[in-house]
């Protein structure tokens, strides 16, 4: 048995031998949410009792903006882990197997594929480029996965692939914004903000919407990609660091213990209540609740955000690198957070922009390295969630902001020094798992060279609609009034992808 297989085996064994009940979310709710936890619990029960077609309005309570709320109908998913590979991974080297493209490799790109098209970098006539990886079919679903993802290929029967995702944005920042905020320009709330606005969060001791970046650089679109846009700012993503303090300034000053900190916060809030009595400004109430939350975060977050207390074989499974800001650590942390009742965990990995202009941006070196650093943790995440009984209520999404061209990139009319592909808007692959999504299913198809979507075409709005649907929202009715009109995450578009719903 290889080490990985051994770990896998041990995990399954452990799962079988553990009282699963001890690890359910409600347990943590009771254990950790203190006073408000009871409220939260009550509200959850309430959601079970309410008829599923209820269309209640979301009420924004500035004093308790993050209390759990029940969705209009009973969603299958309670939380979301969204894995975004910033830079846009090549579908042609991972999931979208195109033997025909292999045959055309090295030939000039037919004019029909270039005429009237816009690319980020390609100019002139590039050569076609066959798959730069070996493909095989896996699992009962016989899904094609390349040898770039040896671990993930064992999980294909857990996921639904979307093979024909399209976008209309071919630059990173706008495409990322479109994917996460429903608008290519700045100013709209991110998906995580919408979700925490609509559902609150189950653990009042932790932020409801947590953002984890794998070290390196921020996504191209910057922090607005997890911003709250026109929603109240309390719904913006909270970036947690995997290096140093998990959340900046979460530790008390040296020499001040927790009780004293509690006393200071009580004093601040008591004083602020008087301030409210005088000024009548709801912003003060909001501040009071922010200070309460700040204290609860201080108590809870350092422990939850510390992955060190996970057993060694879990670390091995995920391939973590202790003390580093890396994707594997974040994936493990994401599982912990979801387990503790965080509503939306957004991960950003970086460096997937395989243009071929440099070794780290090439299909044969850079992409393979990115796959190596993410394959194991993502696989471990699905397995781990599953074994803990959390996969059914946790929606996991994987994808980039667009796809890559079947052509070799020829920047400025000359071939790049390494094999790479340009940004491509007309077809790329994403997958979703858990949270009521079909298992071992593929939706959508591209043409024989993976250039265009030919069936089952979906766009960012459809994915957003589906995510909201799984959480219990009709995306067309889930609105927020701004500038005199109701705004939606999905703007004026979006169709739930019913085909992939179990």
């Amino acid at each position: 048995m290889t080490r990985d297989e051994l770990n896998l085996h041990r995990l399954i064994k452990e799962a079988n031998h553990t009282q699963l009940g001890a690890y359910t979310r409600r347990h943590f709710l009771k254990e950790s949410a203190m006073g408000l936890g009871a409220l939260a619990f009550g509200s959850l029960l309430g959601s079970c009792a309410r008829p599923s077609n209820s269309t209640q309005q979301i009420v924004f309570d500035p004093a308790h903006p993050l209390l759990p709320k029940s969705p209009p109908f009973l969603g299958k998913a309670k939380s979301v882990i969204y894995l975004h590979m910033a830079g846009a991974p090549s579908q042609l080297e991972l999931f979208d197997y195109k033997p025909e493209l292999e045959k055309m490799s090295g030939q000039d790109c037919p004019e029909s594929l270039l005429k009237g098209k816009k690319f980020a970098f390609i100019t002139g006539v590039p050569k076609m480029l066959g798959p730069q990886a070996k493909f095989a079919q896996h699992g009962e679903s016989r899904a094609w996965v390349s040898d770039n993802l040896p671990h993930f290929s064992t999980m294909v029967d857990e996921v639904s692939f979307l093979k024909a995702v399209t976008t209309d944005q071919f630059n990173h920042a706008p495409a990322q914004l479109l994917m996460h905020t429903g608008g290519a320009r700045l100013g709209k709330p991110s998906m995580g903000s919408w979700v925490t606005y609509g559902l609150g969060t189950e653990n009042q001791n932790l932020p409801g919407f947590v953002v984890l970046t794998s070290g390196g650089s921020f996504p191209d679109a910057g922090k607005s990609i997890w911003g709250s846009g026109f929603l109240p700012s309390v719904y913006q993503g909270v970036q947690c660091r995997s290096e140093g303090d998990p959340v900046l300034f979460i530790n008390d000053p040296d020499g001040m213990d927790r009780d004293l900190r509690k006393a200071t916060i009580d004093a601040i809030n008591a004083s602020n209540e008087q301030e409210y009595a005088y000024y009548n400004d709801p912003e003060i109430l909001s501040r009071i609740s922010q200070y309460e939350m700040a204290f609860r975060m201080q108590v809870t977050a350092p422990d939850v955000m510390n992955i060190d207390n996970e057993p060694q074989y879990i670390h091995d499974m995920y391939g973590t690198q202790p003390g580093k800001a890396c994707f594997a650590n974040n994936v493990l942390l994401a599982r912990k957070l979801v387990e503790k009742g965080v509503r939306f965990v957004q991960l950003f990995d970086w460096g997937w922009d395989a243009h071929g202009d440099a070794p780290q941006n090439s299909l044969n070196i850079g992409l393979k390295n990115k796959c190596r650093s993410t394959d194991k943790p993502i696989t471990a995440l699905l397995l781990d969630l599953k074994q803990r009984g959390l996969l059914e209520e946790t929606l996991v999404i994987w994808g980039g902001e667009f796809g890559r061209t079947p052509m070799l990139e020829n920047r400025n009319g000359a071939a790049n020094p390494y094999n790479g592909r340009d940004h491509h808007t007309e077809a790329f692959t994403m997958w979703m798992a858990g949270g009521g999504i079909k298992k071992g299913f593929t939706y959508g198809e591209t043409d024989e060279i993976g250039y265009s979507a030919i069936s089952g075409k979906v766009e960012a709005f459809d994915i957003q609609a589906t995510i909201l649907n799984q959480l219990g929202f009709d995306h067309e009715k889930f609105t927020y009034d701004f500038q005199g009109r109701p705004f939606r995450l999905t703007d004026v578009a979006g169709k739930v992808i019913h085909d992939i719903i179990a």
């Binding site: 100019t123 309390v234 900046l248 979460i250 000053p253 001040m256 006393a263 709801p282 003060i284 700040a294």
Partner: protein, 912 residues
């Protein structure tokens, strides 16, 4: 609120129309207003398919001429005066879902369709968006005399009356003192000033004196610069990828000085846009142009300099429009503006203004303004005077410019036709191997008999040649390379040439084999004539001066704008779909047609001409934008809330007439004086109101859009830090200079290929005002970014205020804030008052200028006792809390806990 009411009225009207007269009859109908009634429906329901981006079926509603023109069907869709025959209306009413518009979307409401019908019936009159028309003088409303301090208040009063609201009474003096100090100088007022104000019996006079003193304080510029630095996307690093350092802080200091000197806004803008176009620009005028050198540059190996040069130019266009003109212009890069009257090619016409600056995304950041040490400055002065007297004014200017800006040199990165040569990392400089050759394209050799060049070669035995037109063309200069460690400047003389030629530079070294070793590094070339004035008295001395200055290490070098010389102008093309790699037709510098009326007749087609257009009194946007911005700084929200967009997609102004009134005043009566405008705002009764929210206001106007109360806003990141610096008496009075590094946690800086480190300051730099904090774009100072500081990657026209637990964590736990609390404890304990309650009360009053309410004192006093008992029990904790440099006893530790608490009170982090 007003808008809301109007909509309700419309519904009512429409319903009345339907019920009373049937759908097709509109007797006595009200005139339809295009801007407020028709355009919003077009923007919301039609424009995405029939506008700037797409023109389905050849029909567009973006411009009047497009809307009225024949569509693909051959007929116009809108027939003015005849709604029933207009295809436009027919299609809205069609039964067939394939026919009915909006295509595959919900049908328009009857109300909306009726508006369109009436509009067409009334002649389909097109309207100009208010913000695109010149500012006119506005009549001041007459009501409100009893309350108003100035004309501004009359406008406010009128709207309050409409809404049946009454203004609030004036805030108490203490509140006003703190409010206006934080607003004007960003820190607590000096003690004596506060006392003078509070003790003066004549409150009105005292207030005006206070305002005048604050406006005259040097701290004024330090406060107001921050706002402008957001617009200017000022930062101390370059931005992309490795995000390396940039030495451009002189620009920040220029902005502070400009505010303190009350530089008129038209001049403020002109110098920043076109300072290098003045005759004999001063250093300050050059440094002002760094405004547009704040765009990001990319030093990443392998990146294309031209690509990022273009990106920087595009950033300059967008910043100019968004920051100076409240117009979102970026979308026009790829297609005509989807909502506003700006066409695709007009973006590139505008680009042509910015497309001829010398900067080329080089890691060296050329062009740089060199500022010399005093002894060198004296030499420079001597030299230019000598040249003026012995050669010519023109030559004197040319040489001055060359020595100060290093321009107009040719960067070695722009050479091509390389053999045995390479542009290092594709973007750094030209490198030669043995037998290297490169082309310097299209050099104007008229009246040229010398080449100066900046290069490095430590290998002896090399020989260089300059060839005309071909690598093997006629040799017109030939010389041996003097080997030396490091970069040097050399001059090569040759016989006077004529015409424009490609110049090929070649290198041979007989002592070396052909190989991959790099033997020569080039930086720039400069074709000129030999130092003039041969035979005149002082020639030798001045030539020596010239070389001394040329080789001198300057005291500072700041990136600035310098224009390409006439003989090396870049052409500008429309980029198809916004891609710089797809140039379309060539365009000449111009402003969008919709705004051309504001272009002065004699304006040149360059950045100076652009500045003339920007600052022309007819320019509808410059004045309005700045008035709106200054208003927002004081009142928390702009008159147009979307500071970045006054176009048809921006929010409606709450007080359009007031905005125009102030904009007119700003240009005409205040002569663009920002201090006068700011004074007008803070002197108003509107500004001076109490900020308490009555239950009525809470219900009717929670967001204070009508200004029935004073502003109550959380302090900005800078105000928050600076206030506590000042009340704790830790504030360093030092102004200007390089960015400083106050305390920040480990591990914030994390850029690839960049080993730069944040070195926590240990001296007084810890206590400098926030505006001096070193600003790294990819990792800005965390406590400031948590309080909504702008990242300054691109133009940040507006900060959105948030309220989050992470902010609480900063003021509770950030060591920088604990440190300030220690200083505050020192100050409280220095007082004669022995009892701790008096110390606490005094501390509170230092921040709030009013006595602490008894209940609050009790809370803090109890907290003190709790902390005191705690530290009595655990004296070890005391030491780590109070630090090394402060009094270590139980009292100070407990008081520190109180100070830390005080710093977190709502009233302390808020401007009441």
């Amino acid at each position: 609120m007003k808008v809301f009411r109007r909509n309700k009225m419309l519904v009512l009207l429409a319903v009345t129309a339907l019920v009373g007269f049937g759908v097709f009859a509109f007797p006595h109908e009200d005139p339809i207003d295009f801007n407020t009634q028709v355009k919003p429906i077009i923007n919301k329901k039609c424009i995405s398919c029939h506008g700037g981006v797409k023109q389905q079926s050849g029909f567009s509603l973006l411009f009047k001429e497009e809307a009225m023109a024949a569509t693909k069907s051959g007929k116009p869709a809108i027939i003015p005066g005849n709604p029933d025959d207009s295809e436009f209306i027919k299609r809205l009413l069609a039964k067939d879902t394939e026919e009915r518009m909006p295509y595959k979307h919900e049908a328009l409401s009857d109300e909306e369709i009726n508006i369109f019908k009436k509009w067409i019936k009334q002649g389909a009159k097109w309207g100009e968006h208010w913000a695109y028309l010149p500012v006119k003088e506005v009549e001041v409303p007459t009501d409100g005399a009893n309350w108003a301090h100035n004309a501004l208040d009359r406008f406010i009063y009128q709207k309050l009356e409409d809404a049946e609201l009454k203004p609030s009474k004036e805030a108490d003096r203490a509140t006003l003192l703190r409010r206006v100090s934080l607003d004007l100088i960003g820190i607590a007022p000096p003690e004596t000033l506060a006392k003078t104000y509070l003790d003066n019996a004549d409150s009105n006079k005292a207030y005006e004196q206070l305002v005048d003193t604050l406006l005259a304080s040097p701290a004024f510029g330090e406060k107001w610069a921050s706002m402008w630095l957001d617009v200017a996307r000022y930062a101390d690093t370059k931005g992309y990828e490795s995000d390396g350092p940039r030495n451009i802080w002189k620009y920040r200091d220029w902005v502070i000085r400009a505010f303190n000197d009350d530089k008129p806004y038209d001049q403020f803008i002109t110098e920043q846009i076109a300072g290098d176009f003045y005759v004999n620009p001063t250093d300050e005028q050059y440094i002002a142009t760094a405004f547009h050198r704040n765009s990001m540059t990319n030093d990443e190996g392998g990146t294309n300099n031209e690509e990022y040069r273009v990106a920087a130019v595009i950033d300059r266009i967008n910043t100019t429009w968004e920051g100076l003109l409240s117009t979102t212009f970026a979308c026009v890069q790829c297609h005509s503006h989807p909502y506003d009257p700006i066409k695709h090619d007009e973006y590139y016409k505008f680009m042509a203004y910015f497309n001829n600056s010398r900067d080329e995304d080089l890691p060296t950041e050329y062009p740089l303004l060199k500022q010399f040490k005093p002894d060198m400055d004296a030499k420079l002065n001597q030299l230019t005077t000598w040249l003026k007297e012995n050669v010519s004014q023109e030559k004197s200017r040319e040489i001055y410019k060359f020595l100060k800006t290093g321009q107009p040199t040719i960067n070695s990165t722009t050479t091509d036709s390389l053999r045995n040569a390479v542009i290092g990392s594709n973007n750094i400089a030209l490198y030669f191997r043995n037998h290297g050759e490169a082309r310097i394209a299209a050099v104007d050799l008229n009246r040229v008999d010398q080449m100066l060049y900046h290069f490095a070669s430590k290998v002896s035995g090399g020989r260089m040649q300059l060839h005309l037109d071909r690598a093997d063309g006629p040799v017109f200069a030939s010389w041996n390379v003097q080997a030396k460690e490091g970069y040097q400047i050399q001059a090569v003389n040759f016989p006077m040439q004529q015409g424009v030629h490609d110049v090929y530079i070649t290198y041979q070294n007989a002592s070396k084999d052909k190989g991959d070793a790099i033997l020569v590094f080039f930086d720039w070339f400069y074709f000129t004539d030999q130092f003039p004035g041969k035979g005149k008295i002082g020639y030798a001395e001045q030539q020596k001066n010239f070389w001394t200055l040329l080789e001198a290490e300057p005291a500072s070098a700041t990136p600035i704008m310098v224009e390409n010389p006439q003989n090396r102008q870049r052409k500008t093309f429309v980029f198809e779909r916004g891609a710089w790699t797809s140039p379309g037709k060539e365009v000449q510098a111009d402003v969008p047609a919709a705004f051309k009326y504001a272009m002065p007749k004699d304006a040149p087609k360059n950045r100076m001409g652009l500045a003339m257009w920007l600052t022309d009194e007819r320019n509808p946007l410059l004045s309005r934008t700045m008035v709106n911005r200054l208003w927002e700084q004081l009142f928390g929200t702009g008159i147009v809330e979307t500071l970045e967009d006054m176009g048809t997609q921006g929010m409606e102004p709450t007080h359009r007439e007031l905005l125009d009134y102030l904009s007119w005043q700003f240009m005409h009566n205040y002569k663009w004086s920002m201090k006068r405008l700011i004074k007008e705002l803070v002197m108003s009764a509107t500004y001076r109101q109490d900020s308490r929210i009555s239950d009525e206001l809470k219900e009717k106007d929670l967001f204070n859009k009508l200004y029935a109360r004073g502003p109550r806003i959380r302090l900005s990141a800078e105000q928050l830090r600076d206030q506590l610096l000042s009340v704790s008496m830790a504030l360093s009075p030092e102004m200007y200079g390089k960015g400083v590094m106050p305390w920040q946690p480990e591990g914030i800086w994390n850029s690839p290929y960049n080993s730069a480190k944040w070195e926590n300051a240990t001296d007084d730099d810890r206590y400098r005002r926030a505006v001096y904090t070193y600003w790294k774009r990819s990792a800005p100072y965390p406590s400031m970014i948590t309080f909504d500081g702008a990242q300054r990657v691109v133009c940040n026209p507006r900060r959105i205020r948030t309220n989050t637990p992470l902010q609480a964590l900063v003021t509770l736990n950030d060591s920088a804030y604990i440190d300030l609390a220690r200083h505050f404890v020192d100050r409280m304990q220095q007082q004669k008052e022995q009892h701790v309650n008096e110390q606490i009360a005094q501390g509170y009053e230092w921040i709030m200028y009013k006595p602490i309410p008894a209940e609050k004192l009790k809370i803090l006093s109890n907290l003190y006792q709790t902390a005191f008992d705690e530290y009595k029990k655990h004296p070890d904790r005391m030491t780590s809390l109070v630090g090394d440099k402060h009094k270590k006893n139980t009292e100070s530790a407990a008081l520190l806990v109180v100070a830390n608490t005080m710093f977190n009170l709502d009233e302390v982090v808020t401007k009441n």
